[in-house]
């Protein structure tokens, strides 16, 4: 299991577009991928659940990947969040 903490920097937070890009990215991996926010777990492979997490600009989140391709998954998600999530 690998994990990493992030501060969300894009202005609108985890709105439709970034949530949909992130979920599509996560779905490519076999690993379980969880986004932790405000003490709750959200399945990163679901755009709907990611949006219900109400992640805003400035929010602290943790991404946890667990499975055979966990390293690769976390690396791609890290690059995605650091680049402003496509906004």
């Amino acid at each position: 299991m690998v994990s990493k903490e992030f501060t969300i920097n894009n202005e609108l937070g985890m709105h439709m577009r970034p949530a949909s890009l992130l979920s599509q990215m996560a779905a490519k991996y076999q690993s379980n991928i969880i986004v932790k926010h405000n003490g709750k777990d959200f399945n990163a492979k679901s755009v709907m659940l990611l949006m219900t997490a109400l992640i805003k600009c400035g929010s602290q989140i943790e991404v946890v990947c667990d499975g055979p391709d966990e390293e690769a998954a976390l690396a791609e998600i890290t690059a995605f969040i650091d680049s402003g999530m496509g906004d």
Partner: protein
């Protein structure tokens, strides 16, 4: 006449076509052939996704990429494991497709509609839209084909969903009236992108009208007329022509320099109240920000905003403006504002009291936090500091001294800032007009605040109905003050702008051009209007008009002369 929310400007006149909500009730029964039910549901989803992609493609071509993403989002939503995945599990458990779809969609609708976030609340209407679209496929209910309505149709419906809006043929739909929806709803955004006049949130309108009724939709005022009298109709036909002509004319000024008829370059800036407004200023083609009111940081807050909070807000505005000038006015409040954490004493006469720069200079620790935040933010664009309510030269000197101290500190700490950051003076008091020549030697720029300048010059409280008739920037006394301030700035060689309502007034603009005003700071939506008016006047024409008007000794003559000369 019916009143609603003005959601998309313009006048639409046409014949009503009601889009009635169809009966989508179903019997939630258990199914025995699970495989067949899943296949039926899969087909409905596939058809929906395919149609949605096709619609999104159309919207992208005809409206814009951003708008098409709303629709693409619908396809992404239904394909999500927690949506269709969950629905298939329910069918596996024996539920029919309609019940599975409704159950999951309603659950997410409940979650999103109660979220404390405007953008996420909008997602609830997306989910409802997806549900209805797929339910129609399952129940084989056909829609009125909005794409086939004849030319001159006014659409009337309970709510305009994004999937309905995307079928609209711009040439055929004259107007839109709905019972729900606000100015920031998707429907409103799409209506504006299509330039179709729209009035939203007209209570009960669907039941108040019949198909083929004649309707006028005034999307500028938010008014709706059903089967109007001949004279009303004639009036609105004229209004529509005028609106269309003006809009086409203003479009020519998008992305252009602000030039007088002689080709001299002036500048149109915007007045903004929050960093987010800076985006609007850019969208409306503003050439800078002439007045960024910093009060929001203090008023929408529970504590004195920290240096970091202020820095972030100023930086955001500066970065949004991409190197264009942003003039930040330092805190401009006093005893008339009740800010719980600031101990303003109630005063007999707050507008003549302990406020604005007076309060700030008496509380240098608080003021330096703001000045330091602005100076730090100046590393991210072209920031200028504007001091409100100046009445003495010493006030400007005192602020400049504080800024010099802050610069020293920042240099020692190795924090970057713009060494050339200017400190200017908001000339909005009778005193500042009287000593404009002295102030111009100390200030780096002037910005005329006509609202307060009028009040202080005429000694009038605009809220007092008995004396409000005296409150006008066209009073000879105010015009002379404005002329004097601009002349003093010109004499000293410093730039001078105006950030009051008068800067966008078509009657005032030729006078300001004659006096020599450089920068006109207006509400973002008025940028193109002001640019258009400036383009119509040459210096010689403006001078001739100003010479005539400035010799007049009463406001009636002034207004009559300006109206007679106006170029609309």
């Amino acid at each position: 006449m019916y009143k609603g929310i003005a959601a998309s400007r313009g006048i639409g006149i046409g014949s009503i076509c009601r889009i009635i909500e169809q009966d989508l009730s179903f019997e939630a029964k258990m199914v025995s052939d699970v495989a067949a039910e899943k296949a039926r549901f899969q087909k409905a989803i596939d058809d929906f996704v395919e149609e949605t992609y096709a619609m999104a493609e159309d919207v992208k071509k005809n409206i814009g990429e951003k708008e098409s993403e709303i629709l693409l989002g619908h396809a992404v939503m239904i394909s999500d494991p927690s949506m269709s995945g969950e629905m298939f599990s329910m069918i596996d458990a024996g539920q029919c497709a309609e019940a599975a779809l409704t159950g999951v969609c309603d659950m997410f609708y409940g979650i999103f509609s109660t979220m404390d976030d405007e953008m996420m609340k909008q997602r609830a209407s997306d989910i409802a839209d997806v549900k209805v679209s797929i339910l129609k496929k399952l129940l084989d209910v056909k829609d009125i084909e909005i794409s086939k309505v004849p030319k001159g149709t006014v659409l009337v419906c309970k709510d305009l969903t994004p999937s309905m809006t995307s079928q609209i043929v711009k040439e055929n739909v004259a107007g839109i009236i709905t019972e729900v929806g606000g100015p920031t709803s998707h429907s409103a955004i799409l209506a504006r992108a299509l330039e179709i006049p729209a009035v939203l949130s007209v209570p009960g309108i669907v039941d108040l009208v019949e198909d083929k009724d004649a309707a006028i939709v005034d999307g500028t005022a938010g008014d709706v007329f059903i089967n109007p009298e001949g004279d009303v109709l004639a009036k609105y036909v004229d209004k529509r022509e005028e609106f269309i002509k003006k809009r086409e004319e203003l479009k020519k000024f998008i992305g252009k320099d602000t030039l007088t008829a002689d080709g001299d370059k002036l500048e149109i800036f915007c007045n903004i109240g929050t960093p987010k407004d800076a985006k609007k200023a850019m969208e409306c083609d503003g050439e800078g920000v002439g007045l960024f009111r910093s009060e929001f940081l203090f008023m929408d807050n529970t504590h004195l905003p920290t240096e970091e909070e202020q820095f972030e807000a100023y930086k955001e505005a500066l970065e949004t403006m991409q190197g264009k000038t942003v003039i930040i006015r330092t805190l401009d409040i006093g005893g008339d504002k009740d800010i719980p954490y600031m101990d303003f004493e109630k005063e007999e006469n707050p507008f003549l009291g302990f406020r604005a720069v007076r309060y700030c200079l008496a509380n240098p620790d608080m003021y330096k936090v703001q000045l330091r935040a602005i100076t730090r933010a100046s590393a991210f664009g072209k920031a200028k500091i504007m001091v409100p309510l100046v009445t003495t030269v010493d006030e400007v000197r005192a602020v400049k001294k504080l800024v010099a101290e802050i610069k020293d500190d920042l240099r020692k700490e190795g924090i970057p800032f713009d060494e050339g950051i200017e400190v200017g003076c908001m000339t909005e008091t009778a005193a500042s007009a009287a000593i404009a020549d002295l102030l111009a030697k100390e200030a780096d720029f002037f910005s005329i605040g006509t609202n307060d300048l009028t009040g202080y010059t005429m000694a009038v409280d605009r809220g007092n109905a008995k004396v409000a008739y005296l409150y006008s920037a066209f009073q000879p006394a105010v015009l002379r003050s404005i002329r004097q301030i601009i002349a003093a700035a010109k004499e000293a060689g410093i730039p001078v702008g105006m950030c009051g309502e008068a800067a966008a007034d078509p009657l005032m603009i030729p006078l300001l051009m004659s006096f020599g005003l450089d920068e006109y700071s207006v509400n973002p939506v008025l940028v193109l209007t002001a640019r258009s008016i400036i383009s119509k006047w040459s210096k010689a024409e403006a001078d001739a008009l100003a010479e005539k008007v400035m010799a007049m000794d009463n406001i009636e003559d002034v207004l009559a002369a300006l109206k007679a000369a106006a170029k609309e």
